[in-house]
Symmetry: C2
Subunit: 138 residues, 2 copies
């Protein structure tokens, strides 16, 4: 699992079209076409082939909790993101990992998750302080 | 070298403070505290230890040229970005690679490069079409 964490002043997304790649992709139902959040930690997350989901979920949720405490904002946005690695996990495993992260973070945070399996417009308005952007591998 | 390419409706950056990590960092002079660009391809670029600069430069500039043609916008923004890898190149090598990319792209594109060696606020307003975000390793 690879993740890029940003402390954002503003986050927005809008589902434009459903993805038809990689071959096995099964997009979720679109329940929420647009999302937005202010003052949040946004995590772009790529689940990879071979990931130990329990271990990765523990690692990323600890990082998110830490970063949320450090920046003093309780809003967490989880964005499924296919662009941090060349060896993506399949849909089932990807969703399993994302759900694990969402459920774990729900315990004590306000959590939003972006749609899985679509091409999305994305607005990231990132603060400029040290530690505003963090890259992690699990 | 790792790179994340986004087709952006809007890009902005503002240098907030100079970086003092990694240890060998030597920030450039700040000639332009703020930058902005509309309708552009923004490349977040991480130069890694062991990179063959000539080869990486060729690879990324070919990708940037291709993406620029596909999206129909001639503006290219090069952002030094320390957050796509754990094994960063040293300052000299990082700058050498970025300069190579900038000079190559200048041939036929309008190129902007963000400051090297600072904590920056960053606005990425990314279009939502297929191919809006691309991850590459060279």
């Amino acid at each position: 699992m690879r993740a890029l964490l940003f402390h954002c002043k503003n986050y927005k997304t809008k589902v434009e079209t459903l993805a038809n790649r990689p071959k096995d992709i099964e997009p979720e139902e679109v329940n929420e076409k647009e999302q937005s959040c202010e003052d949040c930690v946004v995590a772009l997350i790529t689940v990879e082939k071979g990931d130990n989901i329990k271990k990765c979920c523990k690692g990323i949720t600890e990082e998110l909790t830490k970063m949320s405490q450090e920046v003093g904002h309780n809003n967490i946005v989880i964005v499924p993101f296919a662009h941090l690695s060349k060896k993506l996990a399949d849909t089932t495993k990807g969703l399993e990992a994302l759900n694990c992260i969402e459920e774990t973070m729900n315990n004590g945070h306000r959590v939003m998750r972006a749609h899985f399996g679509s091409h999305k417009a994305l607005l990231l308005d990132i603060y400029g302080h040290p530690g505003n952007a963090r890259y992690r591998e699990f």
